[in-house]
């Protein structure tokens, strides 16, 4: 049952061959028995899940069910969930029970999904390995010596291990796509503004974007239909009609023009990964696409620009965690400064503190122009670079991550090397573009993702290409041995 896609499960629920309560219990049981090996959940919400499942069964019985009614999913612990601890992977919010639902949670609830629990993540989404979580590292289900990627590592690992049919994630610099690649699942980061950020704990507001993490592109399209849309509570959400994300899945790829940026295939890229990606692109050519080399000259500027803008915004976004109104407060503060200093030093982990310091520095008087303003100018150049490329090609493809993965602890003390694992994903966030990662093969027993990047609002094309690729291949059907049964 757990190897089925959302679409398949939906059919079973609607036909009555399985109830939502049975399905939910099945996944709860899997989480209970298998997750200790992975640590992909921070909170498991058994009671809430079974209550929602019961309600879903009533809706199905009444004949008013939609395609997501009764489907169990997991939420990254960055989405505020009413009455449930929402920690963002931080000691700072270990005691925080959210008084409200994020729009993403509210919309998915309204569509009838069942919340299995909250998945583990890098603290405040800052990390590419899921090792910065206060709740401990998540392990890659394909090889538990390896990291699952981050920051949505818990969501990726839980879907890959079939502990949840699908999960929500967020992507600020690759946090959906990179763990999707490392765990062998499908992950979509939509165009900035497609999904409301209300209730999503902010890391870097101008880059953060929620998205679905699923087995297939078709499942991702189904979730997008529920998650997307304008929200008046988020001023940066786009006031446009929500498309039907499933409508173009079956379009032919005949005549599709694919661009391969030569900068994505230079040194730094693991040869095993390169091989998988090139083979996958050949497959797409077979489906009728034409491929040409292009150049994205700003590629190497993305990581430095990102590591100014994202920390700058984070340094301000995380100021509210001050020990005054909610969250962690140090013992016996001597005075106000002591309250602030110790609550934040004790409540935040090293990586978060590092980024707050970098960000505060970049915004400080005398450095603002040299760092923040310059990074914003660079950001504009990167956006122009993509715009130019899309005047020539329909879609850009390449690796999602430079390697198939790394072991736990391998890069933990080397932040710069860690930051470079997002080298192919970061520019997409700076430009606000949609991109997804699909499983495309294996390198040394670890899954490898193929990244597809589209122009603004081209989610339907990305999902179409990914779906056609998945019709022609079965990489997305592979599951790690330890979690198959």
């Amino acid at each position: 049952m757990h190897n089925k896609t959302l679409v398949e499960l939906s059919q079973q629920l609607l036909s009555g061959s399985v109830s939502s309560v049975e399905l939910t219990q099945h996944f709860l049981d899997r989480i209970n028995t298998l997750d200790p090996q992975l640590n992909s959940f921070i909170s498991v919400t058994d009671e809430l899940a079974l209550a929602q499942a019961k309600q879903a069964d009533a809706i199905i019985a009444a004949g008013t069910a939609g395609p997501l009614t009764g489907i169990p999913i997991a939420h990254k612990d960055i989405f505020c969930t009413k009455g449930v601890r929402t920690s963002a992977g931080s000691k700072m919010l270990d005691n925080f029970i959210s008084p409200y639902d994020a729009t993403v949670v509210e919309k998915l609830n309204a569509a009838g999904t069942v919340t299995l629990g909250k998945t583990n993540m890098d603290e405040f989404a800052m990390g590419s390995s899921n090792e910065t979580s206060f709740y401990g590292a998540v392990k890659n289900p394909w090889n538990t010596d390896y990291v699952p990627g981050g920051s949505s590592g818990g969501s990726a690992a839980s879907v890959a291990a079939r502990l949840a049919p699908a999960a929500t994630g967020t992507d600020t610099g690759g946090s959906i796509r990179q763990p999707a690649s490392l765990c062998g699942i499908t992950g979509l980061k939509p165009t900035y503004g497609s999904i409301s950020r209300w209730g999503m704990i902010a890391f870097a507001s101008s880059l953060d974007q929620a998205g679905p993490m699923t087995q297939t592109a078709e499942d991702a399209a189904l979730l997008m239909n529920a998650m997307g849309g304008f929200d008046r509570k988020d001023s940066t959400s786009l006031d446009r009609a929500t498309p039907d994300y499933t409508s173009d899945l079956n379009n032919s790829l005949e005549g599709l023009k694919v661009g391969l940026p030569k900068e994505f295939f230079k040194e730094g890229l693991d040869s095993g990964v390169q091989q998988v990606v090139e083979t996958a692109i050949k497959e797409i050519e077979k489906l009728g696409a034409s491929v040409k080399e292009i150049s994205l000259t700003t590629t190497e500027l993305a990581v430095p620009a990102y590591y100014v803008i994202a920390p700058a915004e984070a340094s301000s976004n995380l100021s509210r965690f001050d020990g005054v109104r909610y969250g962690y407060r140090c013992e016996d503060p001597k005075n106000l400064d002591d309250l602030y200093e110790r609550s934040r030093s004790e409540g935040f982990g090293d990586e978060v503190q590092r980024r707050i310091l970098i960000g505060a520095y970049a915004l400080s008087a005398g450095y603002y122009d040299a760092y923040y303003v310059k990074a914003q100018k660079t950001r504009r150049l990167i956006k122009n670079d993509f715009d130019n490329a899309f005047s020539d090609v329909d879609i850009i493809m390449g690796p999602t991550a430079p390697s198939a993965g790394f072991t736990l602890g391998e890069k933990a003390d080397d932040p710069v090397s860690m930051y470079l694992s997002d080298i192919y994903t970061i520019a997409v966030n700076l430009a606000g573009l949609p991109a997804l990662s699909v499983p495309a093969g294996f390198s040394a027993g670890l899954p490898v993702g193929l990244q597809m990047i589209g122009s603004h609002f081209s989610e339907n094309r990305l999902l179409n290409v990914a779906h056609q690729f998945q019709q022609a291949t079965d990489w997305h059907k592979h599951t790690p041995d330890a979690f198959t049964k």
């Binding site: 505020c80 001023s235 940066t236 909610y326 602030y340």
Partner: protein, 481 residues
């Protein structure tokens, strides 16, 4: 050495919107702590601001009224600092692109001189909450009801040269915002607060001296005192050969002095940057024109109209139009009483304002409403009572003894119109004062008036103010030949 004072003001005006600038919470003053604080105002994780369109409209209304350049693209920036009543750890404000650009305001000094003061800019921002230090046994309470209340910060050019000019400027702004209906202007409730930049320079020198900023002064009187005190302090320092520190100071109204804030607090680097949660505000020409077309009568327009329509002297018109409430009061009195505008103006400016001044109340809190006051003047106009009795009636009205008619009846103050009765009183007074009569008859013509005054006074007294003074004068003239 002779010193010239240079003053610039930053005035924070609370805009009277129904809800807060970035959330749907109400903005009513005086509610139970934290009952008007939503998820957004509490700075919960994951919440986002949404700009209140009415705050933008009110800010532009102000800009249009001071003939300012409206920036058709303006944006919001975060001002980062930690304070317990600042829930997000930053205040959303405007830095590079304020909504209102350069404008100006004409102020009139006591001697009638008109001076133009430049307004550098006016920008929108959110207010912070309040820290409550009393009643918490050494701890601090936080009330976030005020957090997120829209503020318009109006920054002037350093164009003022004395406390008097600064006060005139503040009063002009205070009057204008109420005329425009963009703020209740209630200073006691903190609807208008002032930061005062002061520097001194040797008279004739072009370069400005080092300035200090005195923060958060919230009454006309305190503004005046804070300026006078700070000017003297700076002058003493300079005369003694010392330098002025550029610093932020606080005005202590109990001690009537300014003193520096902790140096740590001024060493803040606010790390401003554009707020990524908010889009730039784009306003169209049509929108701005629409606000221009809908502008209410402005103070200087009303001043002009009062002089032409009511034929009032400039001084009286200025007094009456100083606040919108007072001007409205006056106009209501004129229409309800049917009295001549001149009479109404006299009564409002001398009797009413005198009484309010004495009891230290504002026109808004006047114990006698404009309609009630109009009712009183109506009885003067139709000669039901004499002016003298009217003062007695007004006293009683202030004491809450009822409406004019009620009091006239109760105190039996209706003017005596029976000429026989008045004549009897005249005879009585003449008979009772033979010496005065003799002196009157002997006096030269030019001095006779004084004696007539004596008799009129006596007769009015005997009539308990009810006799018609004109009638009394006529009768006396006949009888004292």
């Amino acid at each position: 050495m002779a010193w010239e004072t240079v003053i610039g003001l930053e005035i924070h005006v609370q805009l009277s919107t129904q809800s807060k600038i970035f959330s749907g919470s109400a903005t009513t003053f005086g509610a139970e702590p934290n009952t008007q604080a939503s998820l957004v105002d509490l700075g919960m994780p994951g919440v986002l601001p949404v700009l209140n369109a009415d705050a933008v409209k009110k800010a532009i209304t102000f800009g249009v009224a001071i003939d300012a350049n409206i920036n058709q693209k303006s944006d919001f920036a975060r001002k980062n600092y930690f304070y317990p009543d600042l829930p997000k750890g930053y205040q959303i404000s405007q830095l590079d692109l304020p909504i209102v650009g350069e404008g100006h305001l004409d102020i009139t000094l006591e001697d009638g001189t008109v001076k133009r003061v430049g307004v550098t800019r006016a920008h929108l921002e959110e207010d912070a909450g309040k820290s409550l230090h009393e009643d918490y046994h050494g701890m601090t309470g936080i009330d976030l009801n005020r957090a997120g209340t829209p503020l318009l910060e109006i920054v002037s050019e350093p164009d003022m040269r004395s406390a008097e000019e600064a006060i005139a400027y503040v009063k002009t702004i205070h009057s204008l915002i109420q005329y425009l209906g963009i703020s209740d202007g209630n200073m006691a409730e903190g609807s208008m607060r002032c930061d005062i930049n002061i520097s001194l320079r040797p008279t004739g020198q072009e370069e400005y001296g080092t300035r200090t900023e005195t923060k958060n002064v919230n009454s006309f009187r305190f503004i005046e005192k804070a300026i006078r005190g700070e000017v003297i302090r700076q002058m003493d320092e300079l005369e003694a050969g010392n330098k002025i520190n550029q610093e932020t100071r606080l005005y202590d109204s109990n001690k009537d002095e300014t003193r520096p804030m902790r140096s740590k607090e001024e060493a803040n680097d606010y790390r401003y940057f554009p707020d990524p949660d908010l889009l730039p505000v784009i306003t169209t020409d049509e929108f701005i024109q629409g606000i221009k077309d809908a502008l209410p009568e402005l103070p200087w327009q009303k001043l002009e109209r009062f002089q032409t329509e009511y034929e009032l002297k400039e001084y009286d018109a200025r007094v009456l139009t100083a606040s919108k409430t007072l001007a409205n009061y006056f106009e209501t009195v004129v229409t309800t009483s049917g009295a001549k505008a001149k009479l109404a103006a006299n009564w409002v400016t001398s009797e009413l304002l005198g009484a309010l001044n004495k009891s230290n109340t504002d026109i808004q809190q006047s114990p006698v409403s404009a309609e009630e006051f109009g009712g009183l003047l109506k009885r003067i106009a139709d000669e039901t009572i004499t002016g003298k009795s009217a003062k007695t009636v007004f006293e009683a009205m202030l004491n809450g003894e009822g409406g004019a008619d009620e009091i006239i009846k109760a105190k039996d103050l209706e003017q005596e119109k029976d000429s026989g009765a008045i004549e009897a009183l005249v005879d009585e007074v003449i008979a009772a004062n033979p010496d005065q009569v003799a002196k009157f008859l002997e006096a030269e013509d030019s001095k006779k008036k004084r004696f007539i005054g004596f008799f009129v006074g006596q007769i009015m007294k005997a009539s308990k103010g009810k006799a018609n003074p004109q009638q009394v004068n006529q009768l006396l003239a006949q009888k004292l030949k």
